[in-house]
Amino acid sequence: MPPLNQLVFERPIYVLEDRLADLEQQDDPSPEVRQEIRDLRVEITQKRREIFADLDAWQITQVARHPERPQTLDYLELVFDEFVELHGDRAYRDDPAMLTGLGTLDSLKVLFVGQHKGRNIKEREKHNYGMAHPEGYRKALGKMQMAAKFGLPIVCFIDTPGAYPGIEAEERGQAYNIAYNLREISKLETPIICVVIGEGGSGGALGIGIGDHIAILQYAYYSVISPEGCAGILWKDVKYRDKAAKALKFTSDNLQRLGVVDEVVEEPLGAAHRDHRQMARTLKASLMDAIRELSEFSSEELLERRYEKFRRLGVFDESADSDTAPDPDAGSDS
């Protein structure tokens, strides 16, 4: 059985890499061995390219959930020059699944909001696998409102299987707090950039997913429901998760085609978990471009663009609708 951190379809790459490592350990290698090393390097690159060019939706889901995939705390270190963490929702408690704080990207000051899933058992328990409670959404909104007051752009990193489905989460109003975020974030007069860095799990993702520039990393996914959840309901068995993953069309290329994301951020060859630093560099450049671009707009323009961004989403047939769409300037009801 391959180690836990190697996905089955990545196996051929690791086999070649192991062989390369063995050869590279030889003292004073012969010219033949040197040639083999060169050939292997080429072969590894080709193999990576080949495998990652043709991943299906379920394989992409596995990449998005890869245990070594960089997470929010990695990016806070690699992308931001400084991070001043801010805690608490001023009402109930500090939710460790949702991290918030001030940060700098070169000279740009921003407010950061992001879910953190945890990179080992201890972290995962502490951060509840990135599944926030209502207080996490309240914490995020509170800091975002503060940022809007001081004109700080907001960067949201989305990485969650979903908002936490628990008894206390329901008691404390999971549905209400997410709904309230959707409404209130739509009003914030400051640029908001959202990036799905791993898992974009449904309402729990959208709760910090309203913004002016929505980006997704190449092998992340963003979905109305997890493939397991969808398979359980529609196929009556979780084992059909690969079918559900395909049917939901939640991979970055589909999301771009559907107009849901503005940008797909390219990952290093072999995906983000193979090269955290390269991923962080690309992501940082993308963030800075987006912030600079959005800072050109007035508050009114930003809010209007943000409204229209979501307003136009949806696919339906109007041909049989005898009512004209209500026109705000028409001065009569429809």
Partner: protein, 281 residues
């Protein structure tokens, strides 16, 4: 007397098969009695024995709440498409056709304007009978247009939600985005001083509860409705514990502070009219 179990709603459709003939008589999910269907219908689809609130189809709900013949429906012809070409064991296109035939509706949402005890308003509902009242592109678009129109007309807005499905899986991410779209429209309505009354009926779950249904200036619930974010089965399997008896009911939400009032169906029209009057609209 059998205790009402709000978590059983998914199985209600099967009841007819278990020996109680459909037609003149029906089995009450609340008390287990066999009750005369006409008595239930005369009683606003509420069990005369135990006050259990049965499902109400769109047309009946409109007749119950709005003044006779006052409802003018908008965008009836707005129809769903199949943007993902989604198919599970059944194609979404076939599912839509079957649901349309079953309910006589083009989609799970009806919007328009009408009068409630003489008060003009914009009215919308989601019908739990159409793909579990779930929100896809059409539901999101109809609600958004209704909210924008209420903003423009400066009329109060009442939306009655019935949705076990939340955001509709068959339209994938586009369904999720409807939550953002509708909520943004409500933000503008709110900023314009509009009055929004949300009425949650059995069941109001997932993406519907986590968007427009929770955003009323007043949040009203019918008794013993199932209301929540995550489905009870998902929660049960996550926490590996028995759920409290009244978990995710209207009464539970009232106790925890997320519902203003629980109102019996018989009083709904008059109480909504009274709330509208308090807000000077």
């Amino acid at each position: 007397m059998a205790k009402s179990n709000p978590h059983d709603w998914l199985t209600h459709a099967d009841r007819d098969k278990r020996g109680v003939p459909a037609g003149l008589w029906m089995l009450c999910d609340g008390c287990g009695s066999t009750v005369y269907r006409a008595d239930v219908e005369d009683n606003l689809n509420v069990c005369p024995e135990c006050d259990h609130h049965f499902y109400v189809p769109a047309a009946v709900r409109i007749a119950q709440l709005l003044d006779e013949d006052s409802f003018e429906e908008w965008h009836q012809g707005l129809s769903p498409l199949d943007p993902l070409e989604f198919a599970d064991q059944k194609s979404y296109a076939d599912r839509l056709a079957a649901e349309q035939k079953k309910t006589g509706l083009t989609e799970a949402c009806v919007v328009g304007r009408g009068y409630m005890r003489g008060r003009p308003l914009v009215f919308g509902l989601t019908d739990a009978g159409f793909i579990m009242g779930s929100m896809g592109s059409v539901v999101g678009e109809k609600l958004t247009r209704a909210i924008e129109e209420a903003t423009h007309l400066q009329l109060p807005l009442v939306i009655v939600s019935g949705s076990g499905g939340g955001a509709r899986m068959h339209e994938g991410i586009l369904s999720l985005m409807q939550m953002g779209k509708v909520s943004a429209a409500l933000a503008r309505f709110d900023q314009a001083g509009g009055l929004f009354i949300s009425v949650m009926t059995h069941p109001t779950m997932g993406g519907v509860a986590a968007s427009f249904a929770s955003l009323g200036d007043f949040v009203i619930a019918e008794p013993k409705a199932l209301i929540g974010f995550a489905g009870p089965r998902v929660i049960k399997s996550t926490v590996n514990m028995e759920l409290p008896d009244d978990f995710q009911t209207s009464e539970f939400l009232l106790q925890y502070g997320f519902v203003d009032r629980i109102i019996r169906r018989h009083n709904l029209r008059s109480e909504l009219a009274r709330l509208i009057d308090y807000c000077g609209q």
